[in-house]
């Protein structure tokens, strides 16, 4: 077992193993599963991720509130025009993440990674990068395992809950996981994977969770898109040999402290940030009327 990146890297030592190897060995022991069974579970989850990343490309997927949706298709259509500025891998990753996030908001089937609100970042990034690299299915699943290892460490030492740590804990964690996954897929060393993960988390340190009307829609969908770009950027930095300077474990500790320092208005309560802008409040009223709660209290700030 490992509690942090330092311990995981020590377990790897000079064995030539990957992060995924250690994470899978740990899972085999913890869940009393064979390696084949672990890989089957990963494949099952990957298939659901893949479908969610594609269902919103050709057709508009609309959220259950009816207020958002269709951005996966908009981005996919835009990619076909060839006018996008980012490279094709990043653009496709963004479209996949938007699709996955919209499938989630429409009460579709997704895999929380690590949460439902951030569910588009890891699969969107991974699928797009694997397409560019023409990776084998085995390598894609091993990249997922590496991502899970990073997520385990964040969960053990900090939090992946927006209510506890803000969006940095959800979309930040997802981008860290995705950055490590694709760095492993690109042939980076385990140390480089953690450099990429550390930088990705640092890039969104302090990011608040301020969902309009408290729903996993605005700004969540677009933060999923942003997480893809963050992950790919950090993979490139790590593969260039650039390091974080601040080690991953210390970045995770810092993220947790920052999360605790955030006022509760900026931790998933919909009482701060864009949720209480005039437009955010108007959208809330459109969904719930003058307060889904009855409308006569000051409990949530929505009726101010």
């Amino acid at each position: 077992m490992y509690h942090n990146a330092k311990e995981l890297l020590a377990l790897i030592g000079d064995s030539g193993k990957s992060i995924a190897d250690i994470v899978i060995e740990n899972e085999m022991e913890l869940s009393e599963m064979s390696r084949e069974a672990v890989m089957e579970q990963l494949q099952y989850r990957y298939d659901i991720m893949y479908k969610a990343c594609h269902d919103g490309l050709e057709k508009e997927v609309i959220s259950i509130s009816g207020l958002t949706g269709g951005t996966g298709k908009q981005m996919w259509d835009f990619i076909q025009t060839g006018k996008g500025l980012q490279d094709m891998t990043t653009q496709k990753g963004i479209a996949y993440a938007l699709s996955c996030s919209e499938v989630n908001a429409s009460m579709g089937l997704i895999v929380a990674a690590p949460t439902a609100g951030a569910c588009g970042i890891l699969p969107g990034t991974l699928i797009a990068v694997a397409e560019k690299l023409e990776s084998s299915q085995e390598d894609i699943l091993l990249a997922l395992a590496a991502a899970a290892g990073v997520g385990q460490i964040i969960t053990k030492n900090a939090t992946v809950s927006g209510a506890e740590g803000g969006c940095q804990a959800e979309c930040g964690a997802a981008a860290s996981m995705a950055a490590a996954a694709i760095t492993q897929l690109c042939g980076g060393t385990p140390a480089q994977c953690f450099e990429a993960a550390a930088i990705a988390m640092k890039n969104v340190m302090g990011l608040v969770c301020d969902p309009v009307a408290g729903l996993v829609e605005m700004p969540c969908t677009k933060r999923n898109a942003s997480g893809v770009t963050n992950a790919i950027l950090c993979c490139d930095l790590a593969m260039a040999g650039i390091t974080s300077h601040i080690p991953f474990d210390e970045v995770v500790d810092a993220m947790f402290r920052v999360g605790k320092a955030l006022p509760s208005t900026l931790r998933e309560t919909a009482l701060g940030g864009i949720a209480v802008t005039p437009t955010g409040l108007a959208l809330k009223e459109k969904i719930f009327g003058t307060g889904g709660c009855g409308g006569n209290c000051s409990a949530c700030g929505g009726c101010q």
């Binding site: 077992m1 509690h3 994470v23 899978i24 740990n26 899972e27 913890l30 869940s31 672990v38 579970q41 990963l42 099952y44 989850r45 659901i48 959220s63 259950i64 509130s65 499938v103 989630n104 908001a105 429409s106 009460m107 579709g108 089937l109 997704i110 895999v111 929380a112 990674a113 690590p114 949460t115 439902a116 609100g117 569910c119 997922l144 395992a145 991502a147 899970a148 997520g151 385990q152 969960t155 053990k156 992946v160 809950s161 209510a163 506890e164 996981m177 009307a213 408290g214 729903l215 996993v216 829609e217 998933e268 919909a270 969904i287 719930f288 889904g292 709660c293 009855g294 409990a299 949530c300």
Partner: protein, 223 residues
């Protein structure tokens, strides 16, 4: 603390929120287990904090009812669970209520089965789809649903816990966690045990034959 990689890459779930949708489904499922999977005739949900604020917006209502009918987090019927409950003749109602010093995402459920038995529980969704059942039939409890659980309501008397554990050992049920609480000395007490493997029905029968034991509930793993 060792965490499964499938808790990180998971749950596999119907969106949109791991805490408000998947967590709500698990709490509903806990009631399905506590009521012995009997058919329900009516159910009332008392929603606390954030659960009441964004009820339908996160499908919390549908997820709770789906869980109550035994559906899993990945069951696509969650979307239509309110209609399905209506077809099955289950009366469902939702009400906001301040449940006091509990987690922001908490619900109290009171369910009546078709045979007329009433069950109550309070459960919290604590993040990422993880849940904690904090009260069952009016007595304090603590269950995450990750292990098969046995809840024994008994009189606080010397040796009762030792009898419970020896019956479990006789059926080769290994204890993972164990907790005991009582209202006051010599009054009603509750012992909750989480086990490695599923707990056979004979355990319940044998325990209920013992003195001082009032009630035994076995809950299968629901998370």
């Amino acid at each position: 603390m060792n965490i499964s990689m499938f808790d990180i890459l998971g749950p596999v779930m119907i969106g949109p929120s791991s805490s408000h949708t998947a967590g709500a489904q698990r709490i509903g499922k806990a009631m399905y287990m506590i009521s012995g999977k009997e058919e329900i005739s009516s159910v009332k949900f008392y929603l606390h904090g954030s659960f009441s604020h964004t009820l339908s917006g996160h499908g919390t209502d549908r997820a709770l009812v789906a869980g109550l009918m035994g559906m899993d987090a990945s069951d696509e019927r969650i979307r239509n669970s309110l209609e399905i409950a209506k077809e099955r003749g289950i009366q469902v109602s939702f009400e906001p209520q301040d449940l006091g010093d509990v987690h922001p995402n908490t619900v109290k459920i009171i369910a009546v089965t078709k045979s007329g038995k009433e069950y109550s529980m309070i459960g919290s969704s604590v993040g990422g789809g993880e849940v904690e059942i904090v009260e069952i039939n009016g007595t304090k409890a603590k269950s995450s649903g990750k292990y098969p659980t046995i809840i024994v309501t008994h009189i606080d008397r010397l040796g009762v816990i030792s009898k419970i554990s020896s019956i479990l050992a006789h059926h080769e049920v290994n204890i993972v966690t164990m907790s005991n609480s009582r209202e006051k000395k010599g009054s009603t007490a509750i012992t909750m045990i989480e086990a490695d493997h599923s707990i056979p029905a004979e355990v319940k029968e044998q325990l209920e034959e013992l003195d001082y034991i009032k009630n035994v509930v076995i809950i299968e793993k629901f998370a």
